[in-house]
């Protein structure tokens, strides 16, 4: 199997898999805020940023970023819940207003980060380091952690979706008035969903920090790709998100191997546009 793949695609296959996992991880948080709640969430990248700097801060304090990686999702979720509770809860079903408010919030968090940590690049250490061989591939261990995290998070959500809590959340999303009239506090469900999305983004930011340099712009670079993945996968659909991440992350990974990152990204955008045009046809036929 791996041999066939290697002949067909003369690329570093595991790094493509890791890139797909990265796309899934960074887009997952947006699945909640934008896909499910309809908030045009420009501050999504900043929750990734919060996670990254949380890892850095704990590395500074305790010598290891691992604690930060464990705590990052809770920090990001708390900040997210605060944003939702103070500002966003009044704005559901007003996408343009959510865009402006979250844009303002993103500036605020970015500037705050710059004040606290300076604009200088920071590094988070790879907690494991090194690489090994797995099924004939060269596998850097930390990237394997990224892949496992993406699989576990998607799996956890799919399981949760079948529980009574998941059903209640879905009810509050698809028909808020009916859910409310049945005794479910829709505003509470929305706060929870938004906070979960922010927490997942924070975790993604912390886990990806060792593979990147941290600057206050750290989150921004993931924002566009996250929106591409969620929109292409059809907002609200977890299955679609994973497929879109595979298509976009996969094509970028393969292109990057053959040409520069910039041309790779341009081709990925092209694929996104074409795929967005084709999707209705594919869906209609399915």
């Amino acid at each position: 199997m791996s041999g066939v793949l290697a002949t067909l695609l003369p690329v570093d296959s595991f790094s493509v898999v890791a890139l797909v996992a990265t796309f899934v991880l960074v887009a997952l948080g947006l699945h909640f805020s934008f896909g499910l709640l309809g908030v045009v969430n420009m501050v999504h990248g900043e929750f990734i940023l919060v996670g990254g700097y949380a890892a850095f801060q704990f590395q500074d304090w305790l010598g290891s970023p691992v604690w930060g990686m464990l705590i990052a999702p809770f920090v990001a979720a708390a900040v997210g819940a605060l944003c939702e509770w103070t500002l966003l809860r009044r704005l559901y079903r007003r996408p343009l207003d959510t865009l402006m408010v979250t844009f303002g919030l993103s500036l605020l968090i970015r500037q705050g980060t710059q004040l606290r940590f300076s604009p200088n690049p920071r590094r988070v250490r790879d907690p494991i380091g090194g690489a090994g061989h797995l099924f004939g591939y060269n596998v850097p261990w930390w990237r394997l952690v990224i892949v496992v995290a993406a699989v576990v998070l998607v799996g956890a959500w799919l399981l949760l979706d079948r529980t009574s809590l998941g059903i209640r959340w879905r009810a509050a999303v698809v028909n808020p008035d009916l859910a409310e009239s049945m005794g479910y506090s829709v505003s509470r469900a929305r706060t929870a969903l938004f906070a979960v999305g922010c927490g997942v983004a924070g975790l993604a930011g912390a886990l990806l920090a060792p593979l990147n340099t941290l600057t206050p712009q750290y989150g921004l670079r993931f924002l566009v790709n996250s929106f591409l993945v969620v929109i292409l996968g059809k907002p609200g659909s977890m299955k679609g998100l994973v497929i879109a991440a595979a298509v976009l992350g996969g094509s970028l990974g393969i292109m990057q191997f053959h040409m520069s990152t910039v041309s790779g990204q341009m081709i990925m955008l092209l694929i996104a546009v074409v795929a967005a045009r084709l999707r209705p046809l594919v869906v209609a036929r399915a």
Binding site: D177, E180, M182, S187
Partner: protein
């Protein structure tokens, strides 16, 4: 004291006022029917009472001033609401709906099974996406969901709209059962159904109440007919 008292209720969509100061009350054990032309504001009135639309005025339910309460809290106080449209959750199965409806009332599974038995067709479709049920089946499901919480007052918005005569008959029988368990505020355009249920009736026109009385008397004197002909 009345179970539900509404005083000077006003509801607006944006700058347009739709409900212009309505007063009404529902006594314990009573059925009150609202009749009125399309667009008169009946659904808007019910939604506002259920706490799903912002309104001004005063709504008292079961001794509490619920005017500023959210819908969820009003429901938990014992008020159930069956909407005219969008009464199910797309993508959730019939079984999911039933589970949702008894979440806060785990002890009332027996009650729900009893109500479910009125509509055997639902029991055969537990795994089906509720969105794909027929219109009549969706009405039945809404009914079961609303009653599963053992409410003291049920707001029903056109529960027999657009269903076949046999199904209408089934729903009317269910309505009779409901009136024995709870007070009912019913919106009903079909005069035969309204007469079959009986009780007091209010005629709504352009967001105001223009007639009130026993439905049999209003129907016999031709008031309803003349109000409903444009």
């Amino acid at each position: 004291m009345s179970l539900l008292t509404v005083h000077d209720l006003r509801v607006s969509y944006g700058p347009t006022e739709i409900i212009h100061g309505i007063d009404l009350s529902v006594e314990r054990g009573e059925v009150l029917t609202l009749i009125g032309l399309n667009g008169a504001g009946k659904s808007t009135l019910l939604k506002a009472i259920a706490g799903l639309l912002p309104s001004s005025g005063r709504v008292e339910f079961d001794g509490n001033d619920v005017s500023r309460w959210r819908g969820a809290r009003i429901n938990r106080a014992g008020l159930a609401y069956v909407p005219q449209v969008n009464g199910v959750f797309a993508g959730l199965t019939v079984a999911d709906h039933l589970e949702l409806a008894r979440h806060f009332r785990a002890d009332r599974r027996g009650l729900q099974d009893e109500i479910l038995a009125w509509f055997p067709v639902l029991g055969e479709r537990l795994g089906q996406d509720a969105q794909t049920l027929s219109g009549g089946q969706r009405k039945m499901l809404s009914f079961v969901m609303a009653l599963s919480c053992e409410p003291t007052l049920v707001l029903l918005d056109e529960p027999t709209e657009g269903v076949a005569p046999v199904v209408r008959q089934q729903l009317v029988e269910a309505l009779h059962q409901v009136t024995e368990r709870a007070s009912v505020l019913l919106v009903e355009q079909n005069l035969d159904t309204a007469l079959a249920v009986g009780g007091r009736c209010l005629v709504v026109e352009r967001g105001m109440i223009v007639e009130s009385g026993q439905i049999t008397e209003l129907a016999a004197s031709g008031v309803i007919e003349s109000r409903l002909s444009v």
